[in-house]
């Protein structure tokens, strides 16, 4: 489990506390990297834990950071809320180097939070966690009636979809007309 502290987006984040290490310490000292979300809170995460994320793993491989450089340059994920990133980091730490169990009961029960978590996990390319999340999403409608499914998953009616499509077309038309007018203005 990682701990966090309020940081800034500056190149020199405050020293975060480290995640507890297992009793049998590896012979080669483990390297750590730093990530922060929208709230700028920096999380120190081991390379082993970050291996769950194909995106971050790829970034680490490509950048070839030293620990010092990594500390000075946390990976910024401005599109992920701080509490969601915390959940992701916690999950990666909990499942570091372990086979992933078939179920995960620690996912958020609040649907809004789960939605943000799914988006974050998909962005960070954490395959196993995404699988859990998708199962959890499917579980939401277990035994529900069609009305309840529509409500929980916010499925618009055909009329609502058609109205939204019309509106989008109208907006696109207006934008295209605006761009044409601007281009004509530039030409003058």
């Amino acid at each position: 489990m990682s701990s966090t502290e309020q940081g800034t987006s500056s190149a020199a984040p405050a020293e975060p506390t480290t995640a507890p290490e297992s009793a049998a310490a590896p012979e080669v000292p483990e390297s750590f990297y730093y990530v922060h979300g929208k709230d700028k809170v920096v999380h120190k995460v081991s390379a082993g834990a970050l291996q769950h994320s194909a995106l971050i793993h790829g970034m680490i491989s490509n950048l070839g950071y030293t620990e010092e450089q990594a500390k000075a340059n946390p990976f910024p994920f401005e599109n992920i809320d701080g509490d969601i990133l915390q959940m992701v980091v916690d999950w990666c730490n909990q499942h570091k180097g372990k086979p992933t169990p078939p179920e995960d009961t620690n996912l958020p029960k609040q649907k809004e939070k789960l939605f943000d978590l799914v988006l974050a996990v998909n962005y960070l390319e954490i395959k196993e966690l995404l699988t859990y999340c998708c199962k959890q999403v499917a579980m939401m409608v277990k035994g529900k009636s069609p009305e309840e499914i529509r409500e929980i998953w916010m499925i618009p009616t055909d009329a609502e979809d058609e109205a939204a499509e019309k509106e989008a077309k109208k907006r696109a038309g207006k934008e295209a007309a605006g761009e044409t007018a601007a281009a004509a203005g530039d030409a003058k």
């Binding site: 609040q110 649907k111 809004e112 789960l114 939605f115 799914v118 988006l119 998909n122 995404l130 699988t131 998708c134 199962k135 999403v137 499917a138 939401m140 409608v141 277990k142 035994g143 529900k144 009636s145 069609p146 009305e147 499914i149 529509r150 409500e151 929980i152 998953w153 916010m154 499925i155 618009p156 009616t157 055909d158 979809d161």
Partner: protein, 368 residues
């Protein structure tokens, strides 16, 4: 008619239009997920939930159709409570049912039932509807076949309106069973025989007797079972490639049967035959009848039937135990295959003095 009218109709039955929305915090905007994630979420749904989701909107249906679902085994029964049964060969322990019923006053429109018997899990969706249940049933079947991209494998037809529907919707099908008195005219019977291709098992229930109607073309199904089979000619049997033939009320004469047996023994016709059984009425006594049937046949008698099976496989899930009969001889084909003949006089018709005879030919081989 709009192509989505059926879905709209189903939705109206579920009373889904104009629902009250809850606070957004308790909801999950599924369709706003990236497509790959959205599809993975939908893939985790149970079959019944997929069906309900895809009835909610055109968009939900289009998205679900992008998934390559494992093929389903779809079985339909349409008696007093029409039912759709769904299964998957990948997980044969799970079966799903959609059952229809007339709506009673103050009853709920829809509810789920779940039952577990050992390793088998049965999930049912019960729909109570006003109006024409059969029409709603048809729309639902079409919807399921379209979304889950699976054909109907088995249908038991108890309602006349389903005949034209199945011929139009899916004219080739593995198992078909048409109940008694569903087909009432020779035109309809002819239409069914010409337009519905049943590949595995075809059972036709009793129909009014047609003295003038005769069907001479083979019925291309592995197994055929026909009640009131007076219309099926000798030619239809001889030219067919059926393995199982059971005809009740056949009008085949002893001479016709003699022809069948000779052709089978020569190996020129009915090469795939495993079992032929029919009941027929005759004015002849059983000795006269037998003499005509076995005329000029190379028949052996005796206790040569050790190892003869007592059952035949009508189809994958139906094994038929042979009826009791007097064994009246064996025919041996050139390739060593044995045709055992059984006969039984069932009862005597008082008024016409007709004898009801049951006859069978069982084809089998002695194990090496």
């Amino acid at each position: 008619m709009s192509v989505h009218e059926p879905e709209m109709s189903l939705l109206q039955n579920f009373g889904q239009l104009g629902i009250q929305r809850k606070s957004p915090k308790n909801r999950f905007p599924l369709l706003k997920l990236p497509k790959v994630v959205l599809l993975e979420c939908i893939e985790n749904l149970d079959v019944l939930e997929i069906i309900l989701l895809t009835l909610l909107s055109k968009r939900a249906k289009t998205i679900a159709k992008l998934i390559r679902w494992n093929p389903l085994d779809i079985r339909l029964t349409t008696d007093s409570r029409p039912q759709i049964e769904l299964g998957t060969p990948i997980n044969p322990c799970n079966r799903w049912f959609i059952k229809y019923d007339k709506k009673q006053e103050s009853s709920r429109n829809l509810y789920f039932l779940s039952r577990q018997l050992g390793p088998e899990v049965f999930r049912s969706l019960l729909l109570k509807l006003d109006g024409n249940v059969i029409e709603e049933f048809k729309k639902m079947v079409e919807h399921i076949c379209e979304v889950l991209r699976s054909p109907i494998s088995d249908i038991r037809i108890s309602d006349k309106s389903l005949i034209d529907w199945i011929i139009n919707f899916q004219p080739t099908i593995r198992y078909v069973s048409i109940d008694d008195k569903v087909i009432t005219t020779s035109e309809k019977l002819n239409h069914v025989l010409k337009n519905l291709k049943v590949t595995e098992y075809f059972r036709l229930g009793s129909i009014p007797s047609y003295t003038t109607f005769e069907y001479t073309k083979p019925i291309p199904s592995r197994s055929i079972i026909i009640n009131d089979a007076s219309w099926l000619s000798l030619l239809a049997i001889l030219d067919g490639n059926n393995s199982i033939i059971r005809l009740i009320g056949s009008k085949l004469t002893p001479t016709d049967i003699n022809t069948i047996l000779k052709e089978w023994q020569m190996g020129t016709k009915l090469q795939n035959l495993e079992y032929l059984e029919f009941t027929t009425a005759t004015l002849l006594d059983s000795d006269q009848w037998r003499r005509r049937v076995f005329n000029d046949l190379n028949r052996t008698e005796g206790d040569e039937n050790h190892g003869r099976p007592t059952t035949v496989k009508i189809h994958d899930e139906y094994t038929y135990t042979l009826p009791w009969a007097h064994l009246v001889g064996n025919l041996i084909r050139g390739d060593g295959t044995i045709g055992t003949i059984g006969m039984y006089e069932e009862w005597k018709h008082d008024k016409m003095n007709l004898r009801q005879l049951r006859f069978y030919l069982q084809v089998w081989s002695r194990q090496a």
